[in-house]
Symmetry: D2
Subunit: 135 residues, 4 copies
């Protein structure tokens, strides 16, 4: 998947566009994103909702996995674990996803989320390599 295709995934995924996630940079086996923090992304105590942090991590991890699969293939998250290390606040979240193991059928990816210098979350996920699905 090249940069233009990766950009398309961000603009075509309605929920990602709606949250405001942006592709920052990418290369073979990694991808970086950021998310400006609007008020509607918070939970009842004023922190960023864990669901937002997890979505950022998961979409970034999927993007990183996409950089290593064959043309015409796509990835779907099979399962993931996320460690919410610290409540996330501030104005901007940054995320970096990195492929840990690239297999023919499964790709394992780690992703980390920061708010400023605070390491907010570590994600470890298993992606299933599939033919690009149609709705």
């Amino acid at each position: 998947m090249n940069r233009a295709e990766a950009e398309a995934v961000f603009s075509e995924a309605a929920f990602i566009r709606h949250l405001g996630m942006r592709l920052v940079d990418m290369g073979e086996g990694w991808l970086e994103t950021e998310l400006p923090l609007a008020d509607h992304l918070r939970q009842q105590h004023g922190f960023v909702h864990a669901g937002v942090v997890a979505t950022l991590a998961d979409h970034t991890a999927g993007g990183a996995a996409s950089t290593v699969v064959a043309p015409g293939a796509a990835v779907l998250t099979a399962d993931y674990t996320i460690q919410l290390l610290r409540p996330a606040g501030g104005d901007l979240l940054r995320c970096r996803g990195e492929v840990v193991k690239s297999g023919r059928r499964l790709v394992v990816v780690q992703a980390d989320v920061w708010a400023g210098e605070a390491h907010c979350a570590r994600y470890l996920g298993t992606m299933s390599v599939v033919d690009r699905p149609t709705p």
Copy 2:
């Protein structure tokens, strides 16, 4: 946490209100929710974004955990695993969270998400029992 307090958590969590998640029913150790599926909750292949499914599961699990902690205490998700069993489509997601183990400091919760009859996700999470935090 009684029903009124639980309703408040749903209305005060901006992101949950924004997604449109609703509390359906609750009791000691369990809580049920639903989420009507609007177009902005989808990913690039037309399915519901995994981040939406995970947010629904996590918030429902947190709600279920809240039914077993002492007054004045709250829960924060420490970590969770989610298995995305099937792509989720249709008009409505339903979720049920159930406490697996209630401890003084940690509460373990399972949650399941359905789209119609399709079991879309299983979630297993660890919640940390905290004093109700302030932003």
Copy 3:
């Protein structure tokens, strides 16, 4: 996989035989095991070592998954999460694995471990369906 084949997996897996794990019963999509607790299975505080509990859960889950794959196929654990709910003691651990979702390439399995009436662990794992591998 029929009962005789399942028994063979228990007797051919040196580590399982070494621990003393036994197949108790099985059916389509589930399998039950038990493990008598000898002193060499404990950790430094006298409880059963978490590694023993996890091995019991994982091997039982693999056995349950094996009951739903095609003849000639085998399963390998891709990843799992385990919640260690209570320290495990006593004389015998029991475990039941149940298939949550059976796919062509991935099988998701839950397993639970008890020591007497105490629910000690919940396991949730993803198994990869493979041709029966040779060393």
Copy 4:
């Protein structure tokens, strides 16, 4: 926990001693171990049993967490996820655990297992900080 105390945890944990796990080195926030591979540690296809790999990762992670808690405190694994990246073979497994986040009540630890140059497993676990328990 100093080196002598760490060595004691390895020699007092019967199951760890029984497997043959050895402490290699340690420092503030990390710990390294190794495990010579005997035949009784294998599964039915001749690879090292996943339960052995997971036990090595979990005990090493617990050791790493122990290097950051207060004197008199101990850690118990609350939950962990393990990604089994490749079947493990050969004569020796090596493992390194590193603390990701050290909190007052929870410590998050990552551990990685190698067989020679092959990265066999990544582990991510949550440890609960407790007073040193007695059996």
